[in-house]
Symmetry: D4
Subunit: 185 residues, 8 copies
């Protein structure tokens, strides 16, 4: 399914980022990637496709990504997380891997299975459950050569900085007890 | 390449086990699998094929395994070891995964990437660098329904047991210092 | 106790797979193995037997497995999980080990104690708590030389693939919010 | 220092990738990044700058990267590897982190310190010591919107695939012993 | 915000310890540092400042710490916890790092990212979530050359010792069941 | 406090085992040691004493253990668990260490801090939270030279074996669903 | 084979400690146990017996240990180290487990497989490769009820203490450079 | 033994820092602490004392540290590294712990045993084998209230910064090959 940025702020109309996940149980975590891309004005599509259960569909998705106009693919999977690596095997596009926290090993298995790629086939790995950062990184990659997108990334980071400053000011005003009480509400 | 048991003791002439490894640098470890299968009288073939560098060749190998008469596939890979899982995605045959010790994580990454497969697509994982055990396990799998092969597995295990007993007797005879001196020769 | 596939679809009447667990507290996880074997039409038996508390019973179970007609044994245990290894020591049959998540180490102890078997005595290890995959692997092992069982494994994997495709189609239709709302119901 | 691709195959004359490392002891590993970028025809610069010893120089490098025309920054560091994260804090460009294997923890510390970035500031992490893959990933990022570079990435991956196929053919021809003997020469 | 010890027992009126945390979500854990400093009669200030979101503010805070009269800085952060290291890069004062337990790795990532500092820039690391001990350590550092503060540390430790002795006496009096019942109230 | 076996079955009247824990929060786990010793008819005492908060009391306890007639000391502690090692430093008696699961590292820290003792000063370490096994091990140690106690250990193990056998029989009778339903009651 | 203390200092003539190892490759490490027992005047026997290769021999050894007069059994094994647990399953005697450093996981697998024993069957685990401490612990266990042995343990520990004191004095005399130079000789 | 800064640059004549290690085998690593303190003009003493082999000597050393004028104690130990914690239990002074890399766990055991101290008794932990940083941290602690020492720390850090800048300039001049060739000389 496609996730399109709202209203006028979008200049691009082409899907630029593909977000693939191995199971629909990954959707609550992985949606943070499409949410932040929507906020940054970058159209994306969200796909469920497993490296192990539908390997041919997954390979075909990766192989046709360039001709369909994608610039980046984000892949999220848990446990023996092969999804990002399998996609990277089939495309020259940059692939971002999101190791997901599932099962008894808390995502360490997914981290190792995603990041420790052999020479020749890199996967740009973010933190365990770091779907939001995967979305930001996809925007940064597009922004590497597109200054309009890069400016939106800069604005996004400025907003994060302001939030930290405002919280520090609020703590100064309310004190620890007051701040924590307000947070609990 | 094919590895055929020597001489008359072989009743089977068909390749039953495929041994795949991701890189030729895995050959010194993985050859223990074909060596033990040769000893157990089970013909096998040894193939270099990478899940990431030649994904289509790897998928094709797995997809045609049944029609070519294979009964078991052994796959050895290091780091983010996707090879066994990718093969298992393309065949109903049992797939044995050998996590290889390579790189800074000493094979823990390969172990997790091999054993922590999602529901539906198992990989029968052996110890890190356990290529010999992968060969024995392949023989046990064939022996599950072939009593002649099973008898050879039993004889193989009896030989291992005798070796332990003989070493204990030798230790009794030589004492610790004598035994260690003899080992050093 | 025996678990027999329902109704007419079963051609075999002999127990082919033994499922052993170290404690009755493992039953809620381990029953996934007998459930999937029942679905795949393969008769199995479920046994509680501990490597440490009733070692002789466990050894006898393994030693008599061939003569009772078993083809595969599945063993599930937690912590210092010796059960699969002890059984493998007493039989030439393939033994599948299921490391169970119990206690403070989340099953990493059980994984290492199950998979890192010494040369000569392999255990076919699946994921931590991977009882369902252990059942599927047992079917694949029987299917290595029995094409009827192998066809059932293939059909089972096709069903998994269809489920992924259907979920992706549903996500396309409902969108992320709609899909997640429906999942919560 | 600048690393420029040799001869005529280069269309670009601008430095596009900055490669930063925390210590000159990282140079033997990190040079694989500039080597592969040179091979892929992408000009880059190599800089020694520490997040902890010269924090202001490091921050200034990152802050001026956009205006100097860089598209991607690669940062390699060991132990409590803050370099990639500190650079990412000061630029909207995509930052690739290379955790380096140094010290008693074999790079697990560097991996965690590089990949587990908080929400808002991603680092595209590659494998421990994965400097070559960092270079390839930088090319893929530039190739996300530059089809000439992407074609060079595709050609590079095709070359890797051919190497695997040729090795497998050679193994077929020489057999295991022959192949290993030849490798030792 | 400033946390000043209550009433007359305070001889010092200058803020001596700065407590910095990367996010307001760290406040419930980190307040244990200011609480114990208040109890030990040492004025401190509590600041929210992120190494990645407001890097310049964080650097400025550290760079001006000496001139503002601080003697020690405590920094608490989770995941790829760079905060303490970044602060240590900008000040000659001793910096205490508190790795925080957040995210799937339970603080091991934060521990490694805090303690494994390269040669030249130490961070005095306490236990994961050890904010209270960070406060005590700050007092010990001031007490290294201030015997009045050191005496308060000694008195604090004597109180801890008395509590252990009293609990042991109570256990003697009530027995295990009685003691546990009383604890539950 | 002393825990004495009930009624007539006790021939010994002397406290033989000291059970020390670092904090009263360890009591709910550690009481399993005194419970099983009571069941095995071996008088013990339960003491709260910290290696860090009351080091002199702890050292004195260990130093006087022989003259007070103790034969074994059990020590349970969490995190940087020094208690067992400190006690072992002050007595020639065997010391059993129980690493406790507390804090973010789930007891791995306590396990390493307890078991990895330097040459010369062993600690007999049991599983994380293995207080019951510590009690049984204490009985086994006394039983090493006291056949009456050893017979009680044998009887205890026979009871465990019977329980396994009875559960297996019950599972046979009730089936999986029936057994699990009964367990939930 | 038997290891008997030299000369007159021995009052006991009965073998009291059995030292079992899974492979003769463990002998160079495990001999530290018999060496220290010889020094402490306690007769022992050294046996090679594998839990997996000769399970019946191993079980018989454990089952007959009491009647042959053993007081303690030491078992050393690597990787999935089941040896100590299997022996403990067959005897009421205290069993000391020595996890051995072998293979890619450096003995962590052996540690977990040895120490994380289920409730009812403890193994007294020492450090990885801690064979010398296993011997000392065996002496401490015998010394729990035998004051002559306990006195020898005390004398042994006094010797260790004197060595530390002498080294410190030597360092004082020679200085760091002098001390290190002397050590190199 | 005492280590006094050379020549005139020393204003202090009192030993301010005690450096304790558990074994003389730690001296080659731990001497980096006294070397850097000598360079920073701070007199220190170097002592061999084990928490387990000479516990009373160690406790006495810590208990008398204040009266002997020490301001900071550095303790280095490996494996189950109790030394820093035991010293911290006996003094109100700040204690710096150096986990040492020794044995099969590469110092992770020592790190956990040093840093995970319970509430009330902090140890200021530095990196595994981080003896040099321990010395710098000790100087920073003294410099917290002594501006002359603090200025020397600042000068030391400036020197480190200059070295980084000079290396970067040299790399610029020589190129990668030239730089690496020069390093090898």
């Amino acid at each position: 399914m496609n996730v399109l940025p709202k209203g006028e702020k979008l200049k691009m109309s082409k899907i630029l980022v593909g977000i693939v996940m191995g199971s629909d149980s990954d959707l609550p975590v992985m949606r943070a990637a499409s949410d932040v891309l929507e906020e940054l004005g970058i159209p994306c599509e969200v796909v469920i496709s497993s490296a192990h259960r539908v390997p041919d569909k997954t390979a075909a998705y990766a192989r046709t990504a360039v001709e369909r106009g994608l610039a980046v693919i984000i892949a999220g999977a848990g446990q023996a997380a092969h999804l990002a690596g399998v996609i990277a095997a089939h495309t020259p596009l940059p692939v971002i891997g999101v190791p997901l926290q599932s099962g008894p090993l808390s995502g360490v298995d997914a981290l190792y299975a995603t990041v420790q790629m052999p020479s020749g086939i890199p996967v740009a790995t973010v933190a365990i459950n770091g779907a939001k950062n995967a979305g930001i990184l996809a925007a940064q990659i597009i922004g590497a050569t597109d200054s309009a997108v890069r400016d939106r990334v800069t604005a996004f980071k400025d907003k994060l900085a302001r939030q930290v400053t405002e919280k520090d000011a609020l703590l100064n005003e309310l004190g620890i007890d007051g701040y924590l009480e307000r947070s609990r509400k």
